[in-house]
Amino acid sequence: MSDINIIIKDRAGNIHKVLAPTDMAMNLMEIVRSYELAPEGTIGVCGGIAMCASCQCYINSNHSLPEAGDEEEAMLSEAFNVQENSRLGCQISITKELEGLSFELAPE
């Protein structure tokens, strides 16, 4: 099995424990969409190129994540509701190191 466990808090505050594959080149935004935890059209609007911030999430666990690139930094500098632990879900790939990751979706 190449799945990992991820905990996602949706925008309504509900908590979902989901399995995410590590071998499908998916990212956090895509996992949210694949489990339909946010309505289509409210997440991943730009398709996942760090151009819209609709997949902004707050990372609640202490996993070491790949550093945000220039495009992600720039988008987060313009987005609203940004916190210290804000990241764009589309820029974080699912890898086995993320086992147990916990994050919540930022408001729309």
Partner: protein, 350 residues
Amino acid sequence: MIKTDIIIIGAGPTGLFAVFEAGLLKLKCHLIDALPQAGGQCSEIYPKKPIYDIPGFPEILAGDLTRNLLEQCKQFEPGFTLGERAENITKDKNGIFTVITNKGTQHQAPVVAIAGGLGSFEPRKPMLENINFYEGKGVEYIIKDPEIYRDKRIVIAGGGDSALDWSIFLANIAKEVTLIHRRNEFRGALDSLEKVRELHKKNKITIITPAEITKLKGKEKIESLTVTKDKIETEIDIDHFIPLFGLSPKLGPIGNWDLEIEKNAIKVNTFDYQTSVPGVFAIGDINTYPGKLKLILCGFHEATLMCQSAYKIINPGKKHVFRYTTVSGVDGFDGTRKEAKKPVIQAINE
């Protein structure tokens, strides 16, 4: 009043290809788009990004795809209403639709094809309590007429290209230009950054970073705003506040057109991509049906099938058969004709 055969709402790739397919059936199209240029997301969000899944193009930049689609449909002379958002739709007793934009432009046709992609691109508004009150009273999200800022005190907020470019442009028109950004770093073209730096040195642009605008004040129109930097609040007297935080797509008024909506998209049948309202079709990213994929190539397919039904609505009872362009050529409305070269039949050894 603009009259045409098919009103296409949205001038992205799907809408542009629909013009071509309609043209093959001698149907004329008029496109409406909220953005000032054709191309939709391809030209607004990612013109310089490559697309790898357009059949026949191993790699093509989104901007180039738009240019090619415009070139491909040019011979069918589409009309354009750009920079206006389709606001309202009505149907008269003869089955003719009238689509009115937010600027009052009226369009009439027996068929409407909504190719609106993600919706219309609207400016992203900063979360300030009373900002709606000041819209049109000193707060503008889009600069239409720079002259209104002549000799005025302007605050621009944002850290991207449009904030930089407009700061540069207005530095020579306005009395004062203040640029406020939440971070120290701006993101933009190198020469824009350098120009802003230069204008800042000459005291033509005041830059306040990292800072946020936290309050707006004014009785009938905006008179001042509060900037918070390092937890210290400063009030600045202004005439105009221009927040430039980019655009985000919204389904917008189409959501109120009495069409069946599911998952923020318009429900269609997969026979001809007609919506719950006969004569109104939805094609491309804006529609949904079982198995839907939001892909440009699927939009092309949907546009092609939609045109066949549009023909039947526009020309009831009139016969036509589906033909290959290679066989029949393409007759443009502009008088041009494209066709395969005919072989010459001649004896060589006489």
